[in-house]
Amino acid sequence: MKFTKLTAVAVAASLLAGPTVAELVFPSLSYRTGPYGANGIPFADGYSDYFTLVNERDGGIGGEMTKVVECETAYNTEKGVECYESTKGMGALVYQPLSTGMTYQLIPKVTADDIPMHTMGYGRTSAANGKVFSHVFNYPANYWNGASVAVNHVLSENGGDIAGKKIALVYHNSAYGKEPIRTLEELAKKHNFELSLLAVDHPGQEQKSQWLQIRREKPDYVFMWGWGVMNQVAIQEAANIRFPMENFIGIWWSGSENDVIPAGDAAHGYKALNMHAVGNNFPVFADIQKYVVDAGKAAGAGDQVGTVLYNRGLYAAMLAVEAAKTAQGIHGTAAITSSMMRDGMEALDMTAAKMAGLGMAGFGPEFTVSCENHGGPGLGSVTQWDATSKSWSQISDFAPSDMDVIGKLIAEDSAAYAAENKIEEGCK
């Protein structure tokens, strides 16, 4: 076994022009092609640009240079496996698989290989329970938080009372799209609003039926768990039936420039959730311009800087770097291993001061991670699209979600997983 492991490293390294051992390797399982490529590009750019920045500006993390190994998955789980296998031997510190499907199949693998995985705003929600999912982290917020944040936003708009209101959920008819349903049903009971579910089949270019139904039923609010082409079509159709855009709220994967621009002015006022800041008026962007883009070291064309998904990639990278620093602190060595990285992530503490120090004050919520809670506090914000200035703006600060509802669900689901796979809960 040992022998083959070594050859694995050797071969993989030779295959992908492997790094010198001293570097901190952050694989990026990006998808710049395929049906969702348009969304994958900015995230991947942001993710690797931040590491480039760290190298150029700070000379790496605690003196250790970072290296981003990018591997194209085209959002296809089988390519994902190939990418994981080809990169894990290279001293990968943390995986960011960017696909719920891949997350599910990597959960057992990373646990066995002792490599942490960060699924930010996607993946298996119940992984928030670190006592079961020791190597999986999904801070700062997950889908169920998202659902609750959306409801809270509606509550705040209606003075805390939405009894008898109608809320429709338009969702991508897949595992991802079905995630919020349980939570929303619970919340519907709690706040007794009326919930109606409209499934849209992949890829979702034809949504006439769903939007005619919405036009008939006249819900007060429409939530959307959409992905890819479904988003653009949904927003266009909503505009077509003249549904009030400010009552149309999408999850963070339905809230990028890509989703609203094709609809043009019609999309004005459309809202989407987010777990980090939008726009590029943060000091860090000046650095990126200076050290990365102008230096011609940008991962992409550089035209994505400041877009929602670019920022998400940036944010994910920043959290990874901070976790790495924490890990270095804990273990007193700069050259950390994946297992040390896991400890770092579990002990991560994002304070306002830290973010300010990075020129990213208020870029994301304040939160701390613990073994019991890999999911963070589940804070989320609401952003709104301005079609005239073609920009998103954050219209609420990072608000908490209804954890006493969600916590219960997380406990249930993780317990089920633990039972199915004979894991006894506990902290390392």
Partner: protein
């Protein structure tokens, strides 16, 4: 003369009917098997096993299945993805509801279940033919995917429709779940491949194979000389689905470990497997393997060349992959319309004369 047929006479019909009438082929085959089983696990590393060899083996089974239906019986099907899904979900339900059931039994049963579903969706083939049937099988594809997505019972009511394979083992070695050893899973799949390929070969060279090919070549004449079209076509659908179901079960349980129906068993799967058998060669066991190898290996190789060696941006590399794979497919068809299997045959013709070209 490296490769010789001459002076290789048969004294009994039984001998003449064997799979490799030519001694050279026969020994080559046995040596290959030995290598695959004994040397393979030693030299192949985890990366190649998990990322390339496992999918190759599993898709080879699917290709065998589809080739039986399309290549031998002439019924073009685009329902492969759906049938693989049946296999996968059957195995998941079996694994979770009977934890003590041996994984081997589970896989075989999954194949059986798929066979039944296959027969059901094979019924229209009696009246619908050619491309119309191909499109008709898409009904199976879309319906099955929708069903597994819609009915929570299939994924044990988990919050998201994902199914994850629990750990199961053979002779104490885990072949699914977190602690599965690549080499064990490899041998596990390899055994299935060998047995199933051998079975396919026997089926296609015997009475059944002739029935299938008769239907393929001229269904009316076949019926008049006493071939029951319905029975024959349904047998083809059943056997083919059995193979495809097994590959689906292995894909889920051994290779992916977790799956979501729309994502893992979507329409693209159906096309992928169809590409495999057409590139490899319709109506050829070897072709099924060649095609699977081509479709699995080619992207990985190209990626490693472009990204690994030439250091291109991954997206350009991926686009280039499409261009090249597409180009190659067209090139092959122009050079040899009947697939890699036919190319191989011509190569052998040449080899027979080597090193003395006339």
């Amino acid at each position: 003369m490296l490769y010789r047929e001459a002076g290789d006479f048969k004294t009994t019909y039984a001998k003449d009917q064997q799979t490799f009438p030519i001694a050279f082929d026969r020994w080559g085959y046995f040596i290959m098997l030995a290598l695959a089983f004994i040397v393979g696990p030693m030299i192949i590393n985890d990366y190649w096993l998990n990322a390339v060899v496992l999918p190759f083996l599993i898709y080879a089974i699917a290709a065998l299945g589809l080739n039986i239906l399309t290549g031998y019986c002439g019924q073009v099907s685009l329902g492969t993805g759906g049938f693989m899904a049946v296999g996968a979900y059957a195995s998941y339900k079996l694994m979770t509801s009977f934890p003590d059931l041996s994984i081997i039994i589970v896989v075989l049963l999954s194949g059986g279940v798929t066979a039944l579903v296959g027969i059901l969706f094979g019924l229209p083939s009696l009246r619908i033919k050619g491309f119309y049937l191909a499109v008709a099988t898409l009904a199976a594809q879309f319906f099955l995917v929708w069903l597994f997505n819609k009915v929570p019972w299939f994924y044990n009511y988990s919050a998201s429709g994902q199914i994850s394979a629990p750990e199961r083992s053979v002779f104490g070695y885990a072949i699914s779940g977190a602690n599965a050893l690549p080499h064990v899973s490899y041998l596990f799949c390899l055994s299935f491949v060998v047995v199933l390929a051998w079975g396919a070969r026997n089926l296609t060279r015997g009475a059944n194979g002739r029935k299938w090919m008769a239907i393929r070549d001229m269904d009316i004449a076949a019926e008049i000389i006493g071939v029951d079209p319905l029975k024959t076509k349904l047998t083809a659908f059943a056997v083919s689905s059995f193979y495809i179901g097994i590959s689906g079960a292995l894909l889920f349980a051994v290779y992916l470990g977790a799956a979501e129906v729309g994502e893992a068993f979507g329409i693209t799967k159906s096309f992928l497997v169809l590409f495999m058998i057409i590139i490899g060669g319709l109506g050829s066991i070897f072709g099924s393997f060649a095609g699977a190898a081509f479709m699995v290996l080619m992207p990985v190789l190209l990626k490693n060349i472009f990204v690994g060696q030439m250091g291109w941006p991954t997206d350009l590399a991926a686009h280039m992959e499409f261009v090249i794979v597409g180009g190659l497919i067209m090139l092959f068809l122009i050079l040899e319309p009947h697939g890699l299997a036919a190319l191989w045959r011509t190569a052998k013709e040449k080899l027979r004369l080597w090193p003395f070209p006339h």
